[in-house]
Amino acid sequence: MEALTAIVIGVLTAAAVYLMLARNFMRFLFGLILLSNAANLTIFASGRMTKGAPALVPYGADTPVGVVANALPQALVLTAIVIGFGLLAFALALAFEVYRRLHSVDTDEMRYAEPKEDATK
């Protein structure tokens, strides 16, 4: 399944990059969501994927019985999901506020920080 996941990751990444290169800021946000999913899957797949054996220690035992799933990437992905969500929520609020002020979602128009040369003079 790691190989198939790798292909899925590639597709997600390619789509994310394409969307993040778009002029529309909403598409940029879609790209961000897809990229975040691709990153989570990458962490998950790099720790190897095990079917049907959650990382649990059964009652009465000190350690897991038999081979169980790798717990570390799962913990990392959990953190990543939550942080990705925080990032997205903030970016969305930013987009919303920018749209309210500039009445545009075109990133080419958002030039408060780096105004066009002739605009400054």
């Binding site: 789509a15 990059v17 879609f30 570390l72 953190t79 969500f85 925080g86 929520a89």
Partner: protein, 758 residues
């Protein structure tokens, strides 16, 4: 400058007398080392600074640094006293005193530092304080421009010097100069040529050798005490000091001899002609300073006792007479309101003491016996006759010394004798704080000349020994060395100098015509700066377009190229695609995610994109469920739900994805996107193909229950083993929430305000 001061203003201020007093105390402090150093010993203090990088604040007194330290503190004390009166009543006098005192300390650090890095830091501090002092009249654009020019030029040389020092330190295994010079010459060793060029770049810019000379005459925009102190007696000699300091390690090669001889000689002769051409006395002195620096560099090219003795004697005498003359010009400027050589004359009656001091300095400069300047010239000729490039050096030295004789007449004789021109003010004698310096310096020039044995024993010979790196009591410094070739050359110098002085008015016109034909490096500098600025502007426009898409494109392109190049150079070979044995469900989930992704890519509808994103999210959650990650799957589902709700709420208020109705696609973007995607897949495939290291996981599995008393290992990792990570995660989410809240609250407030208006 002078117009800012008020002769009746109180000048006995803390910043004036205090700094001068402290400097004088330092002078006395260094005086006590004279007998110790003359006896052949050295003194060292070590203060650890950054021990891990072998950088210490090491201070070292030997003959060379002691001579410099005495000049810096001695002349410094007198210049500060002079400045207190010269700038009395100036609104920014306190600032000036601070700059001057900081400069004095930096310069002192420079000549005492033994550690190369510490030396470099002091070196840059002198550049910096010099910048502040040249630009002291900051309301004047010319002053600011000249200050910046000096800063950029000497700091550029300083950077080269730093590179040279680092190479020197690394190749020699120590950053202590005393150890480097003690271990002998570097000639012929690895990196010698590169180190030499870097060090010379630093020394030549600082000591204003042609073609880097033009900043020094411009630096005369500073008040006269600064010109006397920094730009003749001390700072510009830092380059000479460095060459002398490095002499045991770097001298002796053909490269050293040729470069120093030629640059020094050209600077000396060019500058002395230029000095003759000037009518502003301060500019004249500025060019004679260049001449002196060139002469010093030229003599440091040699390695014989006479050459080095010439350099050290000339360095001492030049500091004395040049500081004295600058201060004298300052008094004349102060008293008469002009520095024009064509106007000034006959001031002797009104300013007898100034005239005496100027005469003493002028005689030393002209090299008339029994002044120390005479001895310096004799030794210089003896040294020049011994040098490898004697055929070149001797005539150049002769021309330079003869011109200096003529210039001495212009600056020290002409203003005080002969007919008086029309002066802006009625001349009067200077006040004593301003006279003290020139008088003491002039007297010293005479006294050192009358007592050559004493000055040689305590000052010159210890310095010569430090440069030569070998104890040597040459007895070369003599007032009367017998009838010999140097004496004959001296007589020729006097004769030639006298003719040049007599004809200097006629020569000026000729020199002006020649100068007009030659390249104007000073104007060239402005053109260079302008072009450079234009270039940076174009470059900035190219890199910083201000368009987000282009930044993203550059970022992803760099990612793609670096990953691709790494894969190719590492020669990773093929990729194994193990797709066999997968169930219908696994293929189904994968295809579901891919389908969702493609839909997000192609749709123009906001709602459709939302649904497709949801499909992708749920597909990813299904992978987590199938592969034993229930906690992750639950979180993923929850977050997915929240994302869809949030996006839906926001998108209700926002426009359609494609205002024109159709989505525009870009072939270039698609190519880059596919490249990044393929490369990511390849890297993940390569990673999962590697043998897996389970050590960390094994540790967590073994200790999850036994030490942390939790049966869900993932949860134990989150809340126990990696608590700090989780804490950080919570902080990130909180900050994001606060940020979003503030943003949206601002929006709500603005809306409310708008409604109220309506």
């Amino acid at each position: 400058m002078a117009e800012h001061s008020d002769p009746n203003a109180p000048w006995k201020t803390v910043s004036g007398i205090g700094t001068s007093g402290v400097t004088a105390l330092l002078f006395v402090f260094f005086l006590q080392y004279l007998p110790v150093i003359a006896a052949g010993e050295t003194v060292r203090w070590v203060v650890p600074w950054i021990p891990s990088l072998d950088i210490n604040l090491t201070f070292w007194i030997d003959g060379l640094s002691l001579m410099f330290a005495l000049l810096i503190t001695g002349i410094g004390a007198m210049v500060m006293l002079y400045a207190a009166k010269y700038l009395a009543g100036h609104p920014q006098y306190d600032r000036f005193a601070l700059y001057l005192f900081s400069f004095m300390l930096s310069m002192l650090g420079l000549v005492l530092a033994d550690n190369l890095i510490a030396l470099f830091v002091f070196w840059e501090l002198t550049t910096f304080t010099s910048y502040l002092l040249i630009g002291f009249s900051h309301a004047d654009p010319k002053s600011r421009r000249n200050a910046l020019q000096a800063l950029l030029l000497t700091a550029a040389g300083g950077l080269a010097l730093l590179a040279g020092f680092i190479m020197l330190g690394i190749t020699q295994g120590t950053f202590e100069m005393s150890e480097i010079t003690a271990s002998g010459s570097l000639v012929g060793k690895e990196f010698y040529t590169l180190i030499l060029f870097l060090v010379l770049a630093g020394a030549f810019t600082k000591s204003a050798q042609v073609p880097f000379h033009f900043w020094l005459p411009n630096a005369m925009a500073a008040p006269t005490p600064v010109s006397a102190y920094l730009h003749s007696a001390t700072m510009v000699k830092a380059g000479v000091y460095l060459l002398a300091r490095m002499h045991p390690a770097l001298s002796g090669s053909d490269l050293w001899i040729w470069i120093l001889s030629i640059f020094g000689a050209v600077t000396a002769v060019f500058a002395s002609f230029m000095a003759l051409r000037q009518t502003d006395l301060k500019q004249t002195l500025a060019y004679t300073t260049l001449m002196a620096l060139g002469t010093l560099v030229m003599f440091l090219a040699g390695s014989t006792g006479y050459a080095i003795t010439a350099a050290m004697t000339f360095l001492l005498v030049h500091s004395l007479y040049k500081a004295g003359l600058f201060l004298t010009i300052g008094i004349i400027d102060h008293a008469t309101g002009t520095r024009d050589a064509n106007v000034l004359g006959g001031l002797r009656a009104a300013m007898p003491i100034t005239a005496m001091a100027a005469a003493a300095a002028g005689l030393a400069m002209a090299g008339i016996p029994p002044f120390l300047g005479f001895i310096a010239k004799e030794v210089a000729y003896a040294g020049a006759l011994e040098m490898r490039l004697m055929v070149f050096v001797v005539p150049m030295a002769l021309i330079a010394f003869a011109l200096m004789f003529a210039v001495a007449g212009i600056v020290a004789y002409k203003p005080f004798y002969g007919p008086q021109g029309k002066l802006p003010h009625k001349p009067h004698e200077g006040p004593w704080p301003m006279l003290l310096g020139p008088v003491v310096l002039g007297t010293l020039g005479l006294a050192f000349g009358l007592l050559p044995g004493l000055s040689a024993y305590y000052l010159i010979e210890p310095a010569v020994n430090a440069v030569m790196g070998a104890p040597d009591r040459g007895g070369r410094v003599k007032l009367w060395a017998g009838f010999n070739l140097p004496l004959l050359l001296s007589l020729i110098t006097f004769a030639l100098g006298f003719v040049l002085y007599a004809k200097h008015q006629a020569l000026r016109g000729l020199l002006a015509r020649i100068e007009a034909r030659g390249p104007d490096l000073d104007a060239g500098w402005d053109v260079f700066l302008e072009r450079f600025m234009a270039f940076t502007k174009v470059q900035t426009k190219l890199i910083q377009t201000g368009v987000l898409r282009q930044y993203m494109f550059a970022t992803f392109a760099v990612f793609a190229v670096t990953v691709f190049v790494t894969l190719v150079t590492r020669n990773v070979g093929g990729v194994r695609l193990a797709l066999g044995g997968l169930s219908f469900m696994e293929w189904g989930v994968a295809l579901l995610i891919i389908a969702g992704t493609v839909l997000v890519l192609l749709t123009s509808s906001r709602i459709m994109a939302l649904v497709a994103l949801g499909v992708v999210g749920i597909g990813v959650a299904l992978i987590f469920i199938m592969y034993s990650a229930p906690d992750v799957a639950i979180t993923q589902l929850l977050v997915e739900l929240l994302v869809v709700v949030l996006l839906a709420l926001a998108f209700l208020k926002m426009p359609n994805l494609d205002p024109t109705g159709a989505q525009k696609h870009s072939f270039l973007n698609a190519t880059l996107a596919i490249s990044v995607g393929v490369l990511t897949s390849v890297v993940v495939l390569l990673v999962v193909d590697q043998p897996f290291d389970r050590r960390l996981t094994t540790f967590f599995e073994a200790t999850s229950w036994t030490e942390a008393f939790g049966r869900n290992i993932v949860n134990v990792i989150l809340v126990d083993f990696r608590t700090l990570d989780t804490f950080g995660e919570i902080a990130v989410v909180l900050i994001a929430a606060l940020g979003a809240f503030v943003l949206l609250k601002g929006a709500a407030k603005a809306r409310a305000a708008k409604e109220e208006k309506e």
